[in-house]
């Protein structure tokens, strides 16, 4: 057995005693990761059809499901506005839909305290399908005339993608709470 100087060491070999997570990282990482996810789909490929999942929304839902109280209910307002700047939707579309999603998720949080992977995925499936369909309708009100069948592949890809986004968010959550700032 090894006792390296009586300092508790975690699996990654870092010292844990006398250390706290950085408050900036602990508070800011969820916001930053959602914002990066909003920009990312446009960068990955120049698409001629809507096929990328709305990663910003998926990350937003995943953070709210993993840590319900971490981002306030009104987080959909600034984050949705940021998403609207890049998504191509009329501005206000994500502000409205993300705020509604946050309220719905909070309500489900209260009614359904015992959850597992499957129930969380089912809840997310409902939200994602509603989000993509409503986004189409809002875009159509604002001047487009896209038929409904165009978004079917995107819905399927998004639903399958959600657990993966959840894993990445969980990784980010562990990274967020790494205690590396020394208390003096």
């Amino acid at each position: 057995m090894k006792f390296p100087g009586f300092v508790k060491v975690d699996q990654a070999g870092r010292k844990r005693i006398n250390r706290v997570p950085s408050p900036f990282l602990a508070r800011g990482l969820p916001w930053a990761s959602v914002m990066i996810s909003s920009i990312l789909p446009g960068m990955l490929l120049i698409a001629s059809a809507p096929i990328m999942p709305p990663l910003g929304f998926l990350a937003f839902v995943a953070w709210r499901q993993l840590r319900p109280g971490l981002m306030p209910v009104w987080a959909g307002l600034p984050l949705g506005f940021f998403d609207d700047l890049f998504s191509g939707q009329p501005v206000g579309s994500a502000v409205l839909l993300w705020s509604l999603a946050a309220i719905v998720l909070d309500e489900i949080e209260d009614r359904l305290p015992w959850r597992n992977f499957l129930t969380e995925w089912l809840v997310a499936i409902g939200l994602i399908v509603a989000y993509i369909v409503l986004s189409l309708f809002i875009a159509n009100i604002a001047g487009a005339s896209t038929p409904l069948h165009v978004i079917v592949p995107q819905i399927v890809i998004s639903l399958l993608c959600y657990p993966f986004v959840g894993r990445v968010v969980a990784l980010a959550d562990r990274f967020r709470l790494i205690p590396f700032r020394e208390i003096r």
Partner: protein, 307 residues
């Protein structure tokens, strides 16, 4: 742990108020979203400023992403090239034989063209391109088809300029930022391009369908003369798009037109060219034409429907 059935957040007034205000702010956010939506639906250009700034800020990252994307596509095409080498070699040889004949024909036509133009005294040359740039990003998660290109007002790009790749028309500039611009792709459902069949000039409109294809609507109804594989080029009517730029190839026939595949598929275009907006020559008015008299002008005013 399951939360208690009593959903009050404890006896603390402060906790109760903060929970209440949190929800109130959430609802207010949704309402503000509705207001923003109404503003952006009735004034589509209201938010173009913030959007352009956001695109300008992200544009350098997009340039890097574009290079990575191109490299990634190269890797995939190299790998798939090994599997298809034999078949494509044979096909290319056949095409080369045909192309050599066509090249000779084209040279003859060019010579004849130059001679005829010389006879007519026309020396029309195309104006130089405004900018050659990469596409930095697109709205891949939305049903709208916008893309961002890495050239803006500093490069001389202005609203309305057509954007094309080496293969064909890609779209037109919708909003010009400082170092980046937003392009409405021809596959967007709001994009409407006047086109004609390359072979004989049958006029039609090309409207995007939002799924990467284009709906071709013929202007003259009747028997549909289109065939699969027909190439459509811009007709230049109404200005904006220079005539003769290839745009799409018919893949499916419908009663009043067809569905066409885009030739200048932006996902395969490494570089795009921003061109000057094209304006048709003003019609030549014969000098001896009678000016409308004042009586005629009054007549037309009388005939105009009163609101």
């Amino acid at each position: 742990m399951a939360p208690p059935l009593n959903r009050r957040s404890g006896h603390s007034r402060r906790a109760q108020y903060s929970s209440f205000f949190n929800y109130a702010a959430g609802v207010a956010g949704a309402l503000l979203g509705v207001v923003l939506l109404i503003v952006s639906i009735f004034g589509p250009t209201v938010f173009s400023g913030p959007r352009a700034i956001a695109a300008d800020v992200v544009s350098p990252v997009g340039g890097g992403a574009a290079r990575t994307r191109a490299a990634g596509q190269d890797i995939f095409s190299t790998i798939s090239g090994y599997f298809k080498a034999g078949a494509s070699h044979a096909r290319l040889e056949r095409e080369l034989a045909v192309a050599k004949v066509r090249l000779a024909e084209a040279a003859a036509v060019r010579e004849e063209n130059a001679r005829l133009k010389g006879l007519l005294g026309i020396a029309r040359s195309d104006p130089p391109a405004v900018a050659v740039t990469r596409m930095t990003s697109s709205t891949a998660a939305s049903t709208r088809r916008f893309a961002t290109i890495g050239a803006g007002r500093t490069s001389g790009v202005e609203k309305g300029m057509p954007v094309r790749s080496t293969m064909g028309l890609v779209g037109r500039v919708l909003e010009a930022g400082i170092t980046s611009s937003r392009v409405l792709l021809v596959t967007d459902t709001e994009s409407l391009v006047p086109v004609r069949r390359a072979r004989d000039g049958i006029p039609a409109f090309a409207q995007g369908l939002g799924d990467g294809t284009i709906r071709i609507r013929l202007i003259n109804l009747g028997i549909n003369p289109l065939k699969k594989g027909d190439i459509l080029v811009t007709s230049g009517s109404g200005g904006l798009y220079r005539p003769g730029v290839p745009i799409a190839m018919i893949t499916t026939l419908l009663r009043d037109g067809g569905i066409a595949r885009v030739l200048g598929d932006p996902s395969h275009a490494d570089f795009v060219v921003v061109e000057q907006s094209w304006a048709p020559e003003p019609p030549v008015v014969p000098e001896n034409r009678d000016e409308p008299t004042s009586i005629e002008a009054e007549d037309t005013q009388d005939e105009a429907p009163t609101p």
